[in-house]
Amino acid sequence: MEGLFFNVNGGFVEGIVRGYRNSLLTGQNYSNLTQCETIDDVKLQLGPAYGDFLASLPPNPPTSALAGKMTDKLVSEFRYLVAQSVGSTAKFLEYLTYGYMIDNIALLITGTLHERDTRELLERCHPLGWFETLPVLCVATNIEELYNSVLIETPLAPYFKGSLSHQDLDELNIEIVRNTLYKNYLEDFHNFVQTHPDFSGPTQEIMSEILQFEADRRAINITLNSFGTELSKQERRKLYPEFGNLYPEGSLMLSRAEDVEGVALAVSAVSDYKSFFDAVGLSQGGGGLGGMGGGPADGKSLEDLFYQKEMEMSKFVFTRQFTPAVVYAWMKLKEQEIRNVTWISECIAQNQKERIGNFISVF
């Protein structure tokens, strides 16, 4: 039933995205990339997938430039999708950009707080989080002006309203501001896909699974990263999104956790997370916080495992039809691809070949 009218408005976009998905790098491509000796070789290997976008790069470009060009391609493809979409799909795509907008706003807040010229910051803003009135925010010279213009000019106003005042921007650490906004954003997005009549069916199922995972991941990360900082438990709790597999019991336990074991205990109700913690050896209380150095033997950190899971979920999305969620999945896959390529070229550029395999490929 849900497929009956979807294609009227969303069919084209979905078709395009499935085409994009096929151009994602595969395991074969990655193994070719890891054999490269120089960045130029990497560029060559990326040629079929990225084409013109890499053409303007100088020989042996810095990895950041390479990543920048790859992001440009992602952005231009996404903009094309936005231009082609209407109705609820357009709204859905807009939601996807809010996460980047939060980062951009956080950047501008930081700049304004330190009385820097925020115009210089515009080029540092993530292009996906760009909205037409973003430059207007640079006019603000103090935090109160900025706060007011954020409220008026940006779609993020609801995330500020009610949870952050302009004094908060001044006093709270920017990371707390950022995470508060993100929490509000996730809740809003979740609510949006749950309640919008067009999305009943596959979109709702897929997106709530993905967003719940995202919410849990943030809650776990925030908890782990807040150990040893001045972030109090009450403040910490305020940053947890109020949905997800862990909510509410797990969140409550997370908010009370004092160390890594506490976190492991809190997430043990969800088998996926429990297996992650077991895999990186955190639940036994031994080992460091994963990753390089004294981390687990296979070199995977908790974050790596989260990324891996996210990628698998995103891949799985493509088995469903009649949903704009594929756009979300494609974006995540594409971002991971950019990270992977950056990682590989970084390993090549810095001669650290032994860790070059530490990327996530799902195709």
């Binding site: 990895t63 980062d103 956080a106 950047l107 930081t110 700049g111 707080l113 330190h114 820097r116 910051l121 540092r124 993530h126 650490n173 920017i174 990371e175 707390i176 950022r178 995470n179 993100y182 943030r218 990360n221 925030i222 782990l224 990263n225 807040s226 040893g228 900082t229 001045e230 972030l231 940053l239 460091g288 916080l289 994963g290 990753g291 390089m292 150095g293 950190s301 908790l302 974050e303 971002e335 990270r339 950056t342 990682w343 970084e346 810095q350 001669n351 650290q352």
Partner: protein
């Protein structure tokens, strides 16, 4: 050589001879001390240079590892944290203090790194994502900076020692002590000795002359007395009155003789 060096403008007296002798001794000890100092410093210097070379190479590796850990951060965060980090920096957590090390009287500073407790500008950076990588990156970089500080100590020691050794070597080698003062003093001593000898010889000759003259005088006086006696005897034979007076004069003559011979 001695002609070129010349001598000190002193009066050739015994006092100045003593003075010169102690000066020579001082110069010689000073010179050997300086030489020893220069040798000790040079030894140290070479050691430091070697260690700098090593440390610089090590730094290359350490910094590479650190840069790589930053790459891991950008992988985990999936974005750029540079700006935020720059803006959040307020108080230096990682500082150095300098202490001194004494090498043969030269004070070499030694930087020692320490971390200011309770200062952490980046505690919340990467809160939502990548915080663990950032934490690790901070540790990696802190270790790298420790290596850098170590290297900085070596380098400062190198620069200071370089300077000091130049000065010391100048003093050791620039013909001041070894080639000027010591020969000059030796010359002066030789000169004073020869002058003193000369004086001695002159004096001796003078005394000889004096005593020779005295002897001649005595002989003349003796002859006179003898003549007088003969005359007196003749007179005594004739009248026989004055005999005691020339006797006393003779005694005086004897005393003078004694005096001269001392």
């Amino acid at each position: 050589m001695s002609g070129a060096v010349g001598r000190e403008p002193v009066f050739p007296t015994r006092q100045s001879l003593g003075l010169m002798k102690s000066k020579l001794k001082g110069a010689e000890t000073g010179h050997s001390l300086l030489k020893r100092k220069s040798e000790a410093l040079t030894k140290r210097f070479r050691e430091i240079t070697r260690r700098i070379d090593e440390a610089k190479r090590k730094m290359g590796r350490v910094m590479q590892i650190a840069a790589f850990s930053l790459a891991e951060v950008s992988y985990a965060v999936g974005g750029d944290i540079g700006y935020q980090v720059q803006e959040s920096a307020k108080q230096a957590r990682f500082r150095v203090r300098a202490k001194q090390e004494n090498v043969s009287g030269v004070f070499l500073p030694q930087f020692e790194s320490y971390t200011q407790d309770g200062v952490n500008d980046f505690a919340l950076t990467g809160l939502g994502k990548g915080g663990q990588q950032i934490q690790r990156c901070r540790e990696t970089y802190a270790r790298a900076v420790e290596t850098l500080v170590e290297l900085a100590s070596l380098q400062t020691a190198f620069l200071i020692l370089d300077e000091v050794i130049k000065v010391v070597n100048r003093r050791v080698l620039t013909k001041s002590s070894e080639h000027v003062i010591i020969p000059r003093t030796e010359n002066t001593i030789k000169y004073i000795n020869s002058e003193l000898d000369e004086l001695d010889r002159e004096e001796f000759y003078r005394l000889k002359k004096v005593s020779g003259k005295k002897q001649r005088d005595n002989a003349a006086a003796d002859a006179e007395i003898l003549a007088a006696r003969k005359k007196a005897e003749a007179e005594e034979a004739a009248g026989g009155v004055v005999a005691a007076e020339p006797e006393t004069a003779d005694i005086l003559g004897e005393q003078e003789d004694n005096d001269v011979i001392f």
